[in-house]
Amino acid sequence: MLNLMKTLTATCGISGREKAISDKLLTLVAPLADKCYNDAMGNLIAVKYGTAPEADRKKVMLCAHMDEIGFLVTYIEDSGFIRVNPIGGINWVAAAFTEVVFGSGLKGILVPETGTAPADLKAEKCYIDIGAKDKKEAERKVKIGDYCALSGGITRLLGRRIAGRPLDDRIGCAVLIKIAEALKETPVADDVYFVFSVQEEVGVRGAKTATFGITPDIGIAYDVTGTGDSAGAKPMACSVGGGAAIKLKDSSVICDYELTQEFAAVAKENDIKHQFEILAAGGTDTSAMQMSGAGVKAAALSIPTRYIHSGVEMLDLNDAEACVELTVAWLRK
């Protein structure tokens, strides 16, 4: 899991510009699946057919988003400084004074205008310095519409905890790949669709079309969730290291009650560490799946994560592995 996360956090792919991360995921998932394809919006879909007779197989969609938050270039100044617009919910305090990497691999630094108070940090007050002498030199490397993100990568902390970015939601992608590996070894009865969705960070857009195309019977999302265990956090009965978080509700969805109870029962039976999660603010692909077409039974398993949308997102790999185990055990039932 650690090595997989190293690989997955090394590629940049902001919402709407997911080609590179999609290609990387394809190389990882293709050997594990029966069929892989990208849809019109760019969602990567990998199918593993079940062992039951075709008529008896249900379609189960497992979905993690592969996009990350980042920036699009909007303007290049005479000085060679680059102005950007945020894509997704940028935490400007976390973004200021950090290294960024462009889709081309070019590096730069994101800095605020001198004298900007932390509370005033926003897109208009920040720019990217790529070291260009002037506009002309900058324009040889960067053009309007190019994208960049805070540099990726992870650091090992104590135990099995890691910090870095973008853990949101490459950890979900890693969980999906681990599930696919397990199913490759011992297949299950139902068809499983692994969906690496696009444009989640800008409003769960990709999962919507992917779900419509698949028309699954059940949809499960895998994403990070906030926790109540960082200093100063609002009360929330969910913690890093507390196991797979079975989502009951976030601000976009109330999960299917029967599914959440099934997951809790399977976790108990198999002695898999788990907890319930009620996220006060934040949405996931779960809602997009639930309201697709004539409706889909939807739930989510979350990986508790501190400092989400910063350069030092932090989680425990044991929680992610609990999500893998729980899903595999549930699929086997």
Partner: protein, 347 residues
């Protein structure tokens, strides 16, 4: 059962968004007899069908939402206290010292804690405690509660119903089950042979949390046209400048960019010819109801919206007028009988 009794019985069923399936049997027992067929779907929408008996008849959708606002247990504290989060738009002003039911394995009665005035300063009393900081006092131990009502258990206002003067009713969850009762009553009043088509009565899920139920039900049912019933704010002293409908003014028919103009005009004509009192409720932006999502569902469903004026919406003491409720049930009867409408909008 009278319309009044049906309103109270339906509104008393716990159906906090996300729990629409839980009391299906009670719901079917109450209203199933009016219909020929029952269906449900992946989201827990309840669909009741009354057939007109003719083949290839138009599909007429009548939608009211079954879910109600409420709360969900988020944590259990030492001393038998429970914290909650809101499901839908809960008015936190009414919570201190209010009675609730925690719908666990068995119902747990509780009271929202409130600081005694003797212990509060005048400045304290002006402030509202945010919901996540409020607690419900249950009288059980933490361990017992973890078993009785774990995290995720729904919480609702204790159902207390009373009749006020002039046939006005006070209670919880009239939004939108009072409209549901009017729909069932109105559908029951029409003889099968008088129906202009097959009537699909949708008691939809998840309206209060984003109109999700109607969105997918519209796609699944593909009706030819639809009538949405929901509540609207009635005129109250503190909102005179909003020109809201008065109690006793009948049905509020929505004029909005989203609802179908022709269908709305025909509903208005039905009211005029049927002597049903009505007012026009102009909604220049969004209607805030399932009409928003049904109109653009799949191939588009021509939709009209009729509302029941309601006071103190989203509290444990909503107030409605039976006069208006009866008018609403009559509109439903006229709508599903209307040959004019089925000729224009039926396939």
């Amino acid at each position: 059962m009278t319309l009044k009794e049906l309103i109270v019985s339906l509104s008393g069923i716990m159906s906090v968004s996300g729990n629409e399936r839980k009391n299906r049997e009670a719901l079917q027992e109450l209203i199933g007899g009016v219909f020929d067929e029952y269906r449900t779907d992946a989201l827990g929408n309840h669909l009741f069908i009354k057939k007109c008996g003719r083949p290839n008849a138009p599909r007429i959708l009548v939608d009211t939402h079954f879910d109600e606002i409420g709360m969900m247990v988020t944590d259990i504290k030492e001393g038998g206290f429970v914290t909650v989060t809101n499901i839908g738009g809960v008015d936190t002003r009414i919570l201190p010292a209010s009675e609730v039911i925690i719908y666990g394995g068995e119902p747990v009665y509780g009271v929202f804690a409130a600081k005694a005035p003797h212990l509060s300063t005048a400045a304290d009393m002006e402030k509202l405690t945010p919901l996540p900081e409020m607690v419900i006092d249950t009288g059980y131990s933490k361990e017992e509660l973890e078993d009785l009502c774990p995290i995720g258990t729904p919480v609702g206002f204790k159902p207390i119903y009373a009749e006020l003067l002039n046939e006005r009713l006070a209670g919880k969850a009239f939004d939108d089950k009072a409209c549901g009762a009017c729909a069932v009553y109105g559908i029951d009043a029409v003889q099968r042979r008088d129906l202009a088509g097959d009537v699909y009565f949708l008691f939809s899920a998840y309206e209060e949390t984003g109109m999700t139920g109607a969105r997918v039900a519209g796609f699944g049912i593909r009706p030819d046209y639809a009538l949405v019933l929901d509540v609207t704010h009635a005129s109250v002293p503190e909102a005179k400048d909003r020109y809201l409908p008065e109690f006793g003014s009948g049905v509020a028919i929505a004029a909005s960019p989203i609802t179908n103009r022709k269908l709305t005009r025909m509903v208005t004509d039905l009211c005029k010819s049927g002597n049903v009192p009505f007012t026009v409720d102009a909604c220049p932006g969004s209607t805030g109801t399932n009409a928003n999502v049904l109109g653009i569902s799949a191939e588009g469903i021509p939709t009209a919206l009729c509302s029941l004026p309601l006071k103190s919406m989203h509290t444990s003491a909503e107030v409605l007028s039976m006069e208006d409720a009866r008018a609403l049930s009559r509109v439903v009867s006229l709508f599903i009988k209307s040959k004019e409408i089925s000729e224009v909008f039926g396939k």
